[in-house]
């Protein structure tokens, strides 16, 4: 902890718990160079996940959550993209400066990724079985026959009926939900330490969504794998994640356990998000709440807090400077000026039990 004039800024330094962290991202900054200018997609993101933990990264489209996680896999397209600074430590190993060659042994083997759109994520000219088997051949050096058998096992693991028949089929013969299961099977095939699921259910029907989530939950329980889930859907989060990081406009605005973030949210954006979820237990004819306005253009990021323009609790300082992370509770941190020690209105917060409408 760095002592400062009263503010409890929490910085990551020689943290005694860091060995149990499987992935740790510190102050990551990524930009994209387009012909219309430079887009600051990720502007200093720090987050982490424990071994066997489950973290959900929540935020609306364009907030940078996918870009961040793709950078972990070094899948960011580098000509327009540029990782400007920061550190990504996976299992004790710094990934930022790793060559593509070395990353090839990490991808698929140590970290598996499940993508959003199962309809386009599979090679249409290759059977599903081969698409699973090729990771095994590549990383586990299995022979083709052995890899094929394991591939069929994986399909069974993700609860696809008639697995051995299905393995010889092509993706277009699978339905959407089945394709997503196949994608999960591919990601899990080599038993990776970490699974990153990027909006795994967004493209699917609601009923299928529930099935996929249940599958992921089961797998997590059974295999004890660490999972990072990217989503904009809070309902999904509630089922799976034990920890949540909320992102907005390229930064993490709040981080904590699911308990803390849902019941004791500290950031106005988080609270607004939670309020905007339609609820069945409220009387009918209650207006749906939404957050007025749109996220800022990241070509010219605002100097202060990016949410200030839409925030009911905005203060003068919010427009001028960005807030550093402040400690709200054990492992609960928020980046909001409301929580700064020097905020004269701060005492109200504790009385209002998390309500921060001023």
């Amino acid at each position: 902890m760095i002592p400062g004039s009263g503010s409890r800024r929490w910085t990551y330094m020689a943290d005694p718990k860091s060995d149990s962290r499987l992935l740790e991202i510190q102050d990551l900054q990524i930009s994209f160079h387009t012909y219309a200018g430079e887009v600051h997609a990720v502007r200093g993101v720090s987050l982490s996940v424990e071994k066997s933990g489950s973290l959900a990264i929540v935020g609306e489209s364009g907030c940078g959550k996918t870009v961040t996680m793709q950078a972990v896999m070094k899948l960011t397209p580098i000509p327009p993209g540029e990782i400007k600074s920061g550190s990504i430590v996976f299992n004790g190993r710094e990934l930022i400066h790793l060559s593509d060659r070395d990353m090839q042994s990490v991808r698929g083997k140590d970290i598996g990724m499940i993508f959003q759109d199962p309809m386009t994520g599979l090679n249409p000219t290759m059977t599903v079985g081969v698409q699973i088997a090729e990771t095994l051949v590549r990383h586990r050096r299995m022979g083709k026959a052995e890899a094929w058998e394991k591939a069929v096992e994986m399909l069974e693991l993700v609860e696809i009926p008639q697995a051995s028949l299905r393995a010889s089929q092509y993706p277009h013969q699978f339905s959407g939900g089945m394709r997503q299961r196949a994608m999960i099977a591919i990601a899990l095939a080599c038993d990776p330490h970490l699974i990153i699921a990027d909006e795994p259910t967004t493209s699917l029907d609601v009923t299928i969504q529930a099935q996929i989530l249940e599958l992921l939950q089961n797998l997590q329980n059974r295999l004890g794998m660490t999972i990072i889930l990217i989503t904009h859907n809070l309902g999904v989060v509630a089922r799976i994640a034990r920890h949540i990081s909320v992102m907005y406009a390229g930064k993490v605005v709040e981080t904590g356990t699911a308990e803390q973030v849902f019941h004791n949210s500290a950031h106005p954006y988080t609270r607004a998000l939670l309020r905007s979820v339609p609820r069945l237990d409220l009387p009918t004819r209650t207006d749906l709440e939404s957050i007025p306005g749109t996220p800022p253009d990241l070509f010219v990021p605002p100097p202060g807090c990016a949410f200030a323009a839409r925030c009911k609790s905005a203060m003068q300082v919010c427009l001028e400077h960005d807030a550093g992370p402040y400690r709200v509770g054990d492992n609960h941190r928020v980046s909001c000026w409301l929580w700064d020690d020097r905020n004269p209105h701060r005492s109200d917060l504790f009385l209002r039990n998390g309500g921060i409408d001023l």
């Binding site: 400062g4 012909y35 219309a36 749109t294 010219v300 323009a309 925030c311 003068q316 400077h321 700064d340």
Partner: protein
């Protein structure tokens, strides 16, 4: 640590407009397209080449002392010199003038046939796409068959029986040439038809013709424009090819292809008589291709940033 005064923690009342403020001025579709086109070096080069060649075609025969048919026997097959800036052909005719004239004719034929194909194709495709159902089915089957018939063979056969000349070649090239455009336009129309604003127009009671003209066609413009500029290089090639075999424009009125044919007779001795028209043809095709590609990239809404 920053020095922050307590007043800075005062709440700020923000109008909802602040949240919606777009920090970059919006750029219209056509402006964005033009911007992208200009950045495309190849496309701009193509445009410049076309401009230069048009200039040559228009001004060349005008400023030259010679006309394209008069010949001087004593001065046949000259290399470029002061009197004849690009030399003479085997009959002693001035090549500079002939090339200018040839460019005019080649471009004229290409553009005319492309435009006619466009007119027929857009009408046909528009009707077919708009009405849909059985009408569309029959019309499209016909188009499919027309596309399946080898284009050049039809053109050749037609030219075999027709009087040689400018009109004949244009007619021959447009008899089935419109089929591709029709298919393209019809596909676009089918897509657009399902869009909400068409439904809105129909609800208001707009007549089919009005809908087609004012809603569907303007939005198909992009596709049409690109297709047009893609058609022209093909037309130039087809015409040159036919003239080279002797089926196209006949001397003394000559297109670039005809000039190339004449030049071929003396290839080994006076190669420039073929090479120069050949180069002209190549540049025309190249330039139109670049511009067409540039247009395609510029008008593609998916590439908008």
């Amino acid at each position: 640590m920053m020095d922050i005064k307590p007043q800075q923690f005062n709440p700020v009342m923000l109008g909802s407009a602040e949240g919606e403020a777009i920090t970059r001025p919006p750029v219209g579709y056509w402006q964005d397209a033009w911007m992208r086109f200009r950045k495309n070096k190849l496309a701009m080069t193509g445009l410049i080449v076309l401009a230069v060649m048009t200039l040559f075609a228009v001004l060349g025969p005008l400023i030259s002392a010679w006309d394209y048919r008069s010949y001087e026997f004593g001065h046949a097959n000259e290399f470029p010199n002061a009197r004849h800036w690009l030399g003479t052909d085997y009959l002693g005719r001035d090549m500079f003038t002939r090339l200018g004239q040839g460019t005019r004719i080649s471009v004229y034929i290409a553009i005319m046939s492309a435009l006619i194909n466009l007119a027929i194709g857009v009408t046909y495709g528009g009707i077919s796409g708009y009405f849909g159902g059985a009408v569309d089915d029959v019309m499209m089957r016909t188009v499919d068959i027309l596309i399946g018939i080898p284009y050049l063979l039809i053109v050749i056969i037609l030219l075999t029986v027709m009087e040689p000349g400018l009109t004949s070649i244009i007619v021959a090239m447009t008899i089935t040439g419109w089929a591709g455009m029709a298919r393209l336009v019809r596909g676009q129309i089918l897509q657009l038809r399902e869009m909400e604003y068409v439904l809105a127009a129909r609800l208001v009671g707009a007549s089919p013709r009005r809908i087609i003209a004012r809603h569907l066609i303007p939005n198909t413009m992009g596709v049409i424009l690109v297709s047009l500029t893609a058609n022209i290089p093909g037309a130039i090639f087809t015409e040159a090819f036919l003239s080279f075999i002797g089926l196209g424009v006949r001397t003394p009125l000559a297109s670039l292809g005809t000039l190339a044919n004449e030049g071929y007779q003396t290839l080994l001795v006076y190669p420039h008589n073929l090479v120069i028209p050949g180069v002209f043809i190549s540049f025309l095709i190249m330039a139109f291709n670049f511009v067409g590609d540039g247009l395609r990239d510029a008008l593609d809404p998916r590439l908008r940033q």
